[in-house]
Amino acid sequence: MIEVEGLHKVYGDIVAVEELTFAVGAGEVVGLVGPNGAGKSTTLRALAGIVVPTRGRIRIAGHDLGAAPVAAKSELAFVPDEPHLFEYLTVVEHLRFTARLYRVLDVEDQIPALLGELELQSKRDALPGELSRGMRQKLAMGCALLHRPAAMLLDEPLTGLDPSGMRKMTSTIRQRAAAGTAILLSSHLLQLVEAICTRVVVMRHGRAVASGSMADIVRERPDLAGRSLEELFLALVSDDAPGA
């Protein structure tokens, strides 16, 4: 569903992402992890069609993002770490707006269920300025879920949520994956990544230094056997790590 081949992105003299290759299949949740400045956000933004790759190929649900951007984006949903909402549209108007963009014909049927799932029923006519950070995050997620995308890109999806909201969001992500959506998730919350991701891609200085399931990574690095993802992550991205 998400195929990345030789993704390379350069800003002036800075290489933000270097020859990155990976894929996320239908129903998979893949975690994109790495220290600050590793190139995770640039990768997600390139996959969302926001930044133009210097070279490389991205395919979303079989559509080449460079050659057929509209078709590729129609199958995609992107939830950034800072939810961007329109200040003069209410919660329910955001959903209707998104429905028009993605041609969601059953939007009126979906709205009650979606608002219930995101616990936003009482805020359906509220403007974003009246919502808390967590509610804004939920609304951005609601807009992303509305058109039942084939692929989802989530950048720090739990930011600003309370414990109950985190649990609900985690459950939503799992359900969507179970329904066949390919999900690429970037987060610093390694417990979350460990709990819901089937595989991880560990990035450092714009490159993938490890990828695969925990077992795959341990197979590559037997010295890391028995460690948690957090310990594994720290070992992989430390300056002493091989290839650093």
Partner: protein, 564 residues
């Protein structure tokens, strides 16, 4: 601590200038700067350089300048937001407010930060008004402009403190600000009296025609009371309007005294502005370019899930415009005005309504050029959300077209309202040279032409936002100050020049068609000519939108929006 604030102001300004300088490494910015410089050079070099270079003086110049100053003063007291006068950034709020700095120190810091834009604008206004090169006399005028803008800026700040104090502390605030309130009240009372006097002079002579009525108004300003009322404004304006060095030296004293008086007034205010300024700063930051005003959620027209996809953006922008302003109230006022003006046009020889009609028509014409600067519910407002826009399943040209269409629609409605009101003002005027039928023909032609012209004008503005995102003024950063108008005038001049280039072919078409059909149809020849002309204009607009769309698809949001 004061040295730290000076350091902050100095380094912030120096880094900002350095950043703007570095931006010129980008060829598109460099070319734009060179074109801007060429335009500027033409502006001041169009005439032979003259040491005399006086501003365009006429019998009405003095009146216009005074009217402008009075309007600016009234605006400061009646409409300018209490909380926006001292515009702090969130970083300043977080770092400076908790620091051991006095209120006076914070105000002085903000006044210091304002000096660079004021100086730049004083320079620009000197060029715009007097078209002077920088010789000695021009320097005197720049100083005069600086005095004028700085005093107006201080007045706005002082007025905002008084208003905030009255709003938040009620009777206690009234006691604390008794002198300021008394002076403002006396001024308002005198102004109302003088206004009534002028209206009486106008009404008494309106039977003799508009020109005689306006002349009577001007004469009434020479009476003792109006002269006394206008004296501080004349003091303030004189150094900016005088080029003769001895006269300037005589004029600068009173103007400088006014500035010092304002500075003392503001510095001694000791207004508790922190809470309001902090709230305003965070609101501006959060809303990123939207008016920080509480919004009443009104019912929206339904948006179907089917139809032209970019229509969602048009719907969103129109909704934002409607919710950001009291559109319903404005429509009701316009309707009442239309009825009132139509009735007034039948009264006497209709001179009063005619005067209003000409003002309305002037505004309608001005809004064709300036409207695209005022109506900004398009890509210019949405630039901070470029990430979001680019993730939508839409082509670049579709996004730009939808954004431009929303603004063009709003502007067209406003212009048509002005033209319609003007039509009502001339309705009963039998002495008017152009008959009712011809006027109706022109109004109908405007109905057809204006949407096309406005769409092109907005396409140009949105193209500028895409090509030069770092130069786009975000409304959130706008302090609405008079002294910042100079930059807007420069932008206005350049964008109007581009619009005129695109209008050349459609204008030739419309004039040609009118010429060919005039014998058969008279003024009604406008009607078939206008759609043909609009067709040409739309073809040009399509080319602009397609090209801008391609640039939009290649634009890197990292450059425009640091949020990603």
């Amino acid at each position: 601590m004061r040295s730290a604030l000076v350091y902050l102001a100095w380094r912030s300004t120096a880094n900002r200038v350095a950043r703007q300088w570095r931006r010129l490494r980008s060829p598109r910015y460099l070319v734009a700067v060179l074109l801007g410089a060429a335009y500027f050079w033409l502006l001041i070099g169009g005439r032979r350089p003259s040491h005399d270079a006086r501003p365009p003086a006429g019998p009405w110049t003095d009146v216009l300048v005074l009217a402008f100053l009075i309007a600016a003063t009234l605006w400061a007291w009646l409409f300018a937001g209490n909380r926006r006068a001292l515009a702090f950034s969130p970083a300043e709020v977080d770092l400076l407010f908790p620091a051991p700095i006095t209120r006076r120190g914070l105000i002085q810091y903000k006044l210091l930060r304002r000096q660079l834009p004021i100086l730049v604008n004083a320079l620009l206004w000197t060029v715009f008004i007097a078209r002077q090169r920088l010789h000695a006399e021009a320097v005197l005028r720049v100083i005069g402009m600086w005095l004028l803008f700085t005093t107006l800026s201080l007045h706005r700040l002082g007025a905002s403190f008084v208003r905030a104090s009255l709003a938040e502390q009620g009777r206690t605030g009234l006691k604390r600000r008794a002198v300021s309130v008394a002076v403002a009240g006396a001024f308002a009372g005198t102004l109302a009296f003088v206004g009534w006097d002028m209206w009486s002079a106008f009404s008494a002579t309106s039977e003799r025609g508009l020109g005689a009525a306006l002349e009577a108004v001007r004469s009434s300003l020479a009476r003792p009371l109006p002269r006394a009322l206008l004296l501080p404004f004349r003091w303030l304006a004189r150094p900016a309007l005088t080029t003769d060095p001895p006269a300037w030296l005589r004029a600068v004293g009173p103007a400088a005294a006014l500035l010092v008086a304002h500075y003392v007034w503001v510095i001694r205010s000791d207004a508790a502005f922190e809470e309001g300024a902090a709230e305003s700063a965070y609101l501006r930051h959060r809303q990123r370019g939207r008016a920080p005003r509480p919004v009443k959620v009104t019912r929206s027209a339904a948006l179907a899930a089917t139809g032209w996809r970019p229509g969602a953006l048009v719907w969103k922008n129109l909704l934002a415009f409607r919710r950001g302003r009291r559109v319903g109230a404005i429509a009701v006022i316009a309707l009442i005005l239309a009825i009132g003006l139509a009735a007034l046009s039948f009264h006497g020889n209709g001179a009063s309504a005619e005067a209003v009609g000409w003002i309305l028509l002037t505004w309608a014409v001005l809004s064709v050029g300036m409207g695209p600067q005022w109506v900004r519910n398009d890509l210019r407002g949405d630039l901070p959300k470029l990430d979001l826009l680019r993730s939508y399943p839409l082509h670049g040209w579709e996004i730009v077209a939808a954004q431009a269409a929303a603004s063009a629609l709003v502007l067209t409605l406003g212009e048509l309202a002005l033209v319609g009101l003007a039509w009502c003002s001339f309705l009963g005027n039998g002495a008017f040279e152009v008959g009712l039928g011809e006027r109706t023909a022109v109004l109908t032609g405007a109905l057809v032409l204006l949407p096309g012209i406005n769409l092109m004008a907005m396409a140009i503005q949105n193209t500028a936002a895409v090509v030069f995102p770092e130069w786009v003024r975000h409304d959130g950063g706008r302090a609405g100050r008079i002294e910042a108008l100079g930059q807007s005038v420069l932008v206005l001049g350049i964008s109007t020049a581009i619009l005129l280039v695109f209008l050349a072919a459609p204008t030739a078409v419309v004039l040609g068609a009118v010429y060919l059909l005039r014998d058969a149809m008279g003024w009604w020849a406008w009607l078939p000519a206008a759609p043909v002309s609009v067709g040409v204009l739309l073809w040009e607009t399509r080319i602009v939108l397609l090209r801008t769309g391609r640039i939009f698809e290649r634009t890197e949001p990292l450059v425009t929006s640091p949020m990603g």
